[in-house]
């Protein structure tokens, strides 16, 4: 009886970290992700608001999606040696697209400079340009999944080479 591709054995030339080790790394990964996706937009917005700088960002939505993105990122690290890595990479990338679109909706910032001078900056085009980044990640996730299905276990030789 043949083994299904998603349960292919680890090649001898690869050394996959143990689950506890991957969970620790996943836990540590949440810190930078939380900073980038939740704390940075929230903190920066609150900090700037103290100086009268207002933005149109929907902070609640951004924070909620940011928390989910952080969780997905951590899970992705934990399951990296498995077939779920590719789909999770694509799912995270698509959620980043949603995250960026929410930012796009409120992509203006108004800065009062004193003396009756204020500037409103619209950065929506930059946010739209940034969509190429998650699009590339989504494609990478799909290709990873395709590779895992076509050549089970082969990716592990590259990601976790035995030294």
């Amino acid at each position: 009886m043949s083994v299904p591709w998603w349960r292919a054995p680890v090649p001898a030339s690869a050394k996959v970290p143990s689950w506890p080790r991957r969970l620790v790394v996943a836990g540590l990964t949440t810190v930078p992700l939380l900073v980038v996706f939740v704390l940075l937009p929230y903190g920066a917005t609150q900090y700037l608001a103290g100086y009268g700088v207002t933005s149109g960002l929907a902070l609640l939505s951004i924070s909620a999606i940011g928390v989910v993105l952080t969780a997905l990122g951590a899970v992705r690290v934990a399951v990296r040696p498995t077939w779920m890595y590719g789909p999770l990479l694509s799912a995270s990338a698509l959620l980043v697209v949603v995250y960026l679109l929410v930012i796009f909706e409120g992509s203006t910032i108004t800065v009062p400079l004193g003396g009756g001078f204020r500037i409103t900056i619209g950065y929506g085009s930059i946010v739209l340009a940034a969509l190429t980044i998650p699009a590339l990640y989504a494609l990478a996730g799909a290709m990873t999944f395709a590779g895992d299905a076509r050549y089970p276990g082969e990716r592990l030789r590259l990601d976790y080479p035995r030294r």
Binding site: T120, I126, Y151, E154
Partner: protein
């Protein structure tokens, strides 16, 4: 295809995405720096201030914008509005769309047209020198990606053409040919940036709103000069303007400009 082909390609895509992210962040950083270097400044174009024959006052301003940064600012759309102290809009102007290349400078000439005849709701600015509010709007796109709307509110020192206008009316007295006249002294200072040339017509109105009489006062007043002249206004029989108002209007060949009424004690 080698066994690791798809995954190697996926890894290349991830690396490409990382490079794209770094390039984007670097671009945004440079763009922000470039935008912070843009310096607008404005000067009033007093040489072209004038009162046109149709009763429209023209004010001019030069807006200089320097863009020392590495990104072009294109297009730049400038508009300006002037408001009376009570918020009444007085004038609007829009500059032609221009583009400022990287490291370039441009000067935009704005001409503000005040249709004085239409200023009835804010006619106090004809007789009171005060600060008007000028709002300038600069709409620009930097590096084709970032739109910037700069709004600048500033006080515009306004010199009233009939500053401190007063009309002193004496008690009715006998005039020539058995008429009754009231000597009326009109005084003001032309604080505007243009001279006044025309006829001031003084009309004395009794408390009931009935016009008792009127008389013209020729006025040739240079910029900054004071004006004071007394004219005998012939009154209709039995009409006493004391307690009423003195209505003054400037009569030019092509328009009539009503000034705020002055109460007669």
């Amino acid at each position: 295809m080698v066994a690791s082909g798809p995954y190697r390609a996926a890894r290349r895509l991830r690396q490409l995405a990382l490079v794209a992210a770094v390039v984007l962040v670097a671009f945004v950083g440079t763009l922000a720096y470039s935008a912070s270097q843009i310096r607008p400044s404005s000067t009033l174009d007093t040489a072209h201030e004038a009162l046109l024959a149709n009763g429209t006052l023209v004010l001019g301003a030069f807006l200089n914008i320097s863009n020392p940064g590495p990104f072009p600012v294109d297009p730049v759309d400038v508009s300006a509005s002037v408001y009376a102290p009570d918020g009444t809009p007085l004038a609007n102007a829009r500059g032609a769309n221009v583009a400022i290349g990287a490291g370039g400078t441009t000067t935009i000439h704005l001409r503000l047209y005040f249709p004085l005849e239409a200023l009835r709701s804010a006619s106090s600015i004809l007789t009171v020198s005060e600060n008007l509010t000028a709002v300038s709007l600069v709409n620009a796109t930097i590096g084709s990606l970032v739109s910037v709307v700069a709004e600048y509110d500033r006080n515009l020192s306004w010199g009233a053409p009939f500053d401190a206008l007063t009309v002193t009316v004496s008690a009715p007295a006998p005039g020539p040919n058995r008429t009754t006249v009231a000597n009326s002294t009109v005084s003001f200072t032309d604080q505007a940036a243009f001279p006044i040339a025309g006829n001031l017509v003084v009309t004395l109105v009794a408390t009931g709103g009935v016009a008792c009489g009127s008389a013209p006062v020729p006025a040739q007043v240079l910029r900054g000069a004071a004006f004071s002249r007394t004219v005998a206004v012939p009154l209709t029989a039995g009409c006493d303007p004391l307690g009423g108002t003195a209505d003054i209007s400037l009569h030019e060949p092509t328009f009539v400009l009503d000034l705020p009424s002055e109460p007669i004690p």
